[in-house]
């Protein structure tokens, strides 16, 4: 697992930790059921307060990404890649709906939108 | 308490070698010169002991006291351990005087010991009283000032007593010799204990 803190970033440290762990879980770098470092061990590795790592873990647990078993540690929760996929699909779907509505309103055809999408995708690459 | 005493002894042995030498050789040598005047023998014992007792103290060093008092000991134990030292020094001192007498005068039935039991008793009494008076001073002003005052008052008392020639003759009277003995020890110890309790009470409410 790779977690790197940037002190100069304006993002609170616990958010940085959360984002990186979450990303690792989604990408699959962390397997389901895999044991995460203890909050104290992680605090020592990152040279930050255990309160910060605890907050990150607590928030991740609220989001459903990890589970903490008292006395044992924190594990990557199961079933969330499916959930994630669903969530992602939903976000894209909502955005596409907006796109469709706007283009209808402004008078763009499906072919024109398809072309634009192609160009933009390649640009971002 | 005993641990503190051991620590103090280790400390004196390590840091105060000069004192140790003086403490042992002093009475030994002085005894060899003093034969007649009762007073001197007593004086040697109680003078040396009371001065030696003050070596007990960390030169009013507030900082090492900081460490000592941060250890798992109570203020009371600290005070009592300081009070344990003088009796030990007394016993050593008297032993040295006796041994010195034997060395320099030889052991023979006629001559007897260089110092009589009565004289020993009086010496103990005077030592205990002078120490009992001066120790609390140290605890009232626990710093170099306190040490200075206790040392000072000890010297003053010793000098005054030394100047009173009459004491020598007083000791000859039956009053004192009757008084000497167990009475002296008991009185001395009683005052000693009271002094220790007072010092402990003082020290318990002091700031370091």
């Amino acid at each position: 697992m790779r977690v790197i803190i940037s002190n100069s970033s304006s993002e609170p440290i616990y958010v940085q930790v959360m984002n990186q762990i979450r990303a690792a879980i989604i990408k699959g770098d962390l397997d389901e059921g895999e044991l995460l470092p203890s909050i104290r061990g992680l605090a020592k590795d990152l040279q930050i307060s255990v309160i910060t790592t605890k907050r990150a873990y607590d928030e991740l647990e609220k989001e459903g990404f990890i589970e903490t078993v008292h006395g044992k540690g924190s594990y990557v929760a199961i079933q969330n890649r499916e959930l994630m996929k669903e969530k992602k699909l939903k976000i894209i779907e909502e955005k596409l709906m907006d796109l469709v509505d706007e283009s209808r309103l402004l008078g763009f055809s499906y072919e024109e939108i398809k072309e634009m999408l192609k160009i933009l995708y390649m640009e971002v690459e | 308490m005993v641990k503190l005493l051991k620590t103090d002894i280790k400390l004196i042995l390590k840091t105060n070698k000069v004192f140790m030498i003086l403490f042992i050789l002093g009475p030994l040598l002085l005894v060899s010169f003093m034969e007649e005047k009762n007073w001197s023998k007593i004086g040697i014992i109680y003078f040396v002991t009371s001065m030696a007792s003050l070596v007990n103290f960390e030169e009013g060093d507030r900082d090492t006291k900081k460490i000592t008092l941060s250890l798992p000991i109570t203020r009371r134990e600290y005070v009592y351990s300081k009070y344990l030292m003088p009796p030990i020094l007394l016993i050593i001192n008297i032993s040295i005087v006796l041994i010195g007498g034997i060395i320099f005068r030889g052991l023979s039935i006629n001559k007897g010991l260089i110092i009589s039991l009565n004289e020993i008793m009086v010496a103990i009494l005077l030592s205990l009283i002078t120490i009992s008076l001066c120790m609390p001073l140290y605890f009232v002003l626990p710093s170099k000032v306190g040490l200075f005052f206790s040392l000072g008052s000890l010297l003053v008392i010793n000098v005054i007593l030394g100047m009173i020639d009459g004491i020598g003759t007083l000791l000859e009277t039956s009053l004192i010799t009757r008084f000497a003995g167990v009475g002296a020890i008991a009185l001395g110890l009683f005052i000693f204990f009271i002094s220790a309790i007072i010092s402990a009470k003082i020290f318990e409410v002091n700031d370091i």
Partner: protein
């Protein structure tokens, strides 16, 4: 583990006083005790260790009154003070043999292991040690009797940054045990910016705050902007500020309000403990 309630102490001669200090530290956490020089940090620690007598208030360590149970409490406390108060003519070993018998859980193995880790030799005379080495020695002593609470009074002042980092590493290792706590007073707040879990800030003998680092970071924000953003009315919205010809910098504990007052061009950053101390002084 450590509970201070309404602690007060007045020095008769100097008139300096500590008034009504309250805070507490749970097991498993490090508390940084910060404040400018002369704010009362050392005094508070001396009061905790019963080197000074309090005028009023309650101090409980391990749940027990710190004077009534003084001996058994101190058996479980490891302390490190700023100056080396050891006998200079003694060697490390000799000094250790004076102190070790007082602790019921003294462990020689642990002590010599720390000496090795700290690169100290048992026969070194204390006089010959540098300030940093003396401090490491004091730390070795404090850590060799299974202490549950470690109290440090300005242990890193006068030490170079490398030493300070090494000591922080040692502290991190200790904190892996969630039953121990460390109480660490310092005016070098950069040491605490990372490791501390809780910060108690004291100034002029009074408590300013005692909070977790997360709470502090949520509450306080450092704001910056160009000189045109600042005017006399807006200055009042900040806890403290510093302005120059090319801009200003300030601290706030109400970022939402400040955001609406100053507008979008405001730059918002995380403050360091030093920033917080600097901008809230004199309040």
């Amino acid at each position: 583990m450590l509970e201070i309630k309404n602690l007060s102490k007045r020095f008769i001669y100097s008139g300096f006083e500590i008034k009504d200090i309250s805070f507490s530290l749970k097991p498993g956490y490090i508390m940084g005790f910060i404040g400018p020089n002369g704010s009362g940090k050392s005094t508070t620690i001396k009061l905790i260790m019963n080197l000074l007598k309090k005028n009023s208030g309650e101090i409980k360590i391990f749940g027990k009154d710190h004077i009534e149970y003084e001996k058994e409490i101190k058996d479980r406390i490891g302390f490190v003070y700023d100056e080396s108060h050891f006998y200079e003519s003694f060697s490390i070993d000799e000094m250790k043999s004076l102190i070790a018998p007082f602790y019921s859980k003294w462990d020689d193995e642990v002590f010599y292991r720390y000496l090795e880790d700290f690169d100290l030799k048992a026969n070194q005379v204390i006089k010959t040690l540098s300030k940093g080495m003396k401090m490491k020695f004091a730390l070795a002593i404090a850590l060799s009797h299974d202490a549950d609470l470690i109290i440090m009074d300005e242990p890193t002042s006068g030490l170079d940054p490398i030493f300070r980092r090494e000591i922080l590493d040692v502290l991190y290792n200790i904190m892996q045990n969630e039953n121990k706590s460390i109480f660490f007073s310092t005016h070098i707040t950069s040491d605490l910016d990372q490791i501390a879990d809780y910060i108690t800030y004291i100034d002029k003998g009074k408590l300013v705050f005692s909070k977790s680092v997360e709470e502090i970071m949520d509450t306080y924000k450092l704001v910056k902007g160009g000189p045109d953003l600042l005017n006399d009315y807006k200055k009042k919205e900040l806890l403290g500020f510093r302005e120059s010809r090319v801009g200003f910098e300030g601290l706030t504990d109400n970022i939402e309000n400040v955001k609406s007052v100053f507008g979008r061009e405001l730059i918002i950053e995380k403050p360091s403990l030093e920033d917080i101390m600097y901008y809230t002084r004199g309040r």
